[in-house]
Amino acid sequence: MTALLDVRGLSAGYGDFQALFEVYMAVEEGETLAIIGANGAGKTTLLRTLAGLVPASSGTVRFAGADLLAVPAWKRVGHGISLVPEGRMLFPSLDVRENLLIGAHARRGGRWNLDRVIEVFPLLAPLLGRPSEVLSGGEKQAVAIGRALMANPRLMLLDEVSLGLAPLVVKQLYAALPEVVEAGTTVLVVEQDIGQAAAAADRLVCLLEGRVVLEGDPDCLTRGDIVAAYFGMKAET
């Protein structure tokens, strides 16, 4: 079976600073894959490279069989890739409804629309007319995810979902993911919380200093394996 996303030998960085070193990974259609790693491991750079916001210096990325690196960032949404960026990055001059609608600018046909997003995140219904700046962190994250879904993505890239959010809010946001996957969207989520990532994902990939150091089914990996890979230590036996 051909992977929906096939990353081979991907290197990327910022100017002279290289953040990713020959990353290999594959994401199957319909799965939830979590990328874990400590600060500076290259998780966000990987997602931003896949979204086209950071140029790749070498390697190949094929998405649904097509060469993704040849596609400019703004066209990748039309190809089926949506990014939920770190820090949510809502547009401050747009209200909540406009922030959601702008996600549909390059929409593909599919099941997601404003009504469907509100069904999945009912907390947004009374907030639609509000400026996005006044929302809480959890509300902003729900808008950011909803905005990405408005494009009907085949692959949603979720960066640091739990960053700065209360555990209960994180739990509510993760509770929506199975519905997203069931609707036909594959999820690639970057997460620092190992427990949350292991609970939500079908597969884990651990990055350390820009390289993949561990990959596998969370049910088959021991906590020792994951912690060792996360911090770059030898696994305890």
């Binding site: 547009f91 747009l94 406009e98």
Partner: protein
């Protein structure tokens, strides 16, 4: 919980929300604006001595210029300090079309706009590589470069005083020329405002505002940032070029220094928009009224006019960054032009 758009029935058990662009104020604003345009259009027939018509030509073309700069700076985040290059391009294009080639002066106005739009393309290739303050400086540098080229050109003779001769203005009577120039200035103001309203009501408007907030964010949502910016850049250049042509028709002699004047066609326009309110369609209208008032009071003191307007703009930028329109919004959130969709229903914040 669901959202009901205007005209759609609510699902059973759903909380009913309506989304609408129109408000009572915007309907009143549109009706008032339409009435004002009709009154202004008929002005040549009842302002027999031209005491209102003559100053209004200036006010109206300044409103057209202000709306275009506001479209760029206020809605697209493109703070250009080089729009005078398109004013000058329009002015010299009209001189060339009407004076050198003998084309009809009125038909030459849109043609002058096309020349300015054509000029905007190579400038964009250079300026769009810059952002923020560098974009502002880059556009200013480009404008100065164009001014120098026109000044040094043997064909355009920008260093000399050039005038539209009686022959190039055709067989039109003085009154007809004055009236048509006034109507063209009115069209610049009304059309400029309409362009901003139409752009903001479209998908491009939402994309523009997202680009202003974050280019990377907009790009990651599938917005072609360059094309979106280029669209309003070219439209603004076209309209500003048309304004340059109308400016020449209203005072039919010029030099390159005057036609490409940064103080007359950029500083004053910025003052008008800052005083009225950057990033609102109503702001430039309010700003140009303040400009008119100051201009009338200080008509004999050109330097003081700049000092007073600049002083007011500086104070407004500090105490009321959203200008007079922002101050009105603090009192009551009014929307005179129906550009933003608003949520009507329980829990909706009408901000």
């Amino acid at each position: 919980m669901s959202v009901r758009r205007t005209g759609q029935p609510a699902a059973p058990g759903a909380t009913a929300y309506r989304i609408s662009r129109s408000t009572a104020e915007s309907k009143a604003g549109l009706a008032g604006s339409a009435l004002l345009v009709i009154v202004l259009f008929t002005l040549p027939w009842w302002d027999s001595d031209g005491s209102l018509q003559t100053p209004l030509v200036v006010v109206l073309y300044y409103l057209g210029l202000a709306q275009m700069w506001n479209l760029l700076a206020g809605f697209a985040g493109m703070i250009s300090i080089g729009q005078q290059m398109f004013v000058g391009a329009g002015t010299y294009a009209l001189l060339q079309f009407a004076e050198a080639w003998g084309l009809d002066p009125w038909l030459s106005v849109p043609a002058a706009g096309l020349v300015a739009a054509a000029l905007s393309a190579p400038v964009a290739l250079f300026a769009f590589r810059l952002s923020g303050g560098y974009f502002a400086i880059g556009t200013w540098v480009a404008a100065e470069a164009v001014r120098l080229l026109v000044t040094e050109s043997n064909d355009l003779r920008g260093g000399d005083v050039r005038s539209l001769t009686r022959e190039s203005l055709g067989d039109y009577s003085l009154e007809t020329r004055a009236n048509v120039t006034y109507w063209l200035a009115l069209a610049l103001a009304v059309g400029g405002t309409a362009i901003v309203v139409v752009v903001l009501r479209s998908r491009v408007g939402l994309a523009l505002r997202s680009v202003r907030d974050s280019e990377d964010g907009a790009r990651s949502l599938g917005i072609d940032v360059i094309r979106t910016k280029a669209l309003v850049w070219v439209v603004a250049a076209f309209w500003t070029g048309c304004a340059g042509a109308v400016i020449l028709l209203s005072a039919p002699s010029t030099t390159a220094a005057s036609a490409f004047s940064v103080s007359r066609w950029m500083a004053l326009v910025i003052f008008i928009v800052v005083i009225g309110g950057v990033g609102s369609t109503t702001g430039p209208v309010l700003g140009v009224l303040v400009f008119w008032f100051i201009d009338e009071q200080l008509s004999d003191a050109e330097a003081w006019r700049f000092i007073v307007l600049g002083g007011i703009a500086a104070v407004m930028a500090i105490v009321a960054p959203r200008g007079l329109y922002g101050l009105i919004q603090r009192w009551r959130p009014l929307q005179f032009f129906p550009v933003r969709r608003r949520l009507i229903g329980p829990g909706a914040d009408s901000s």
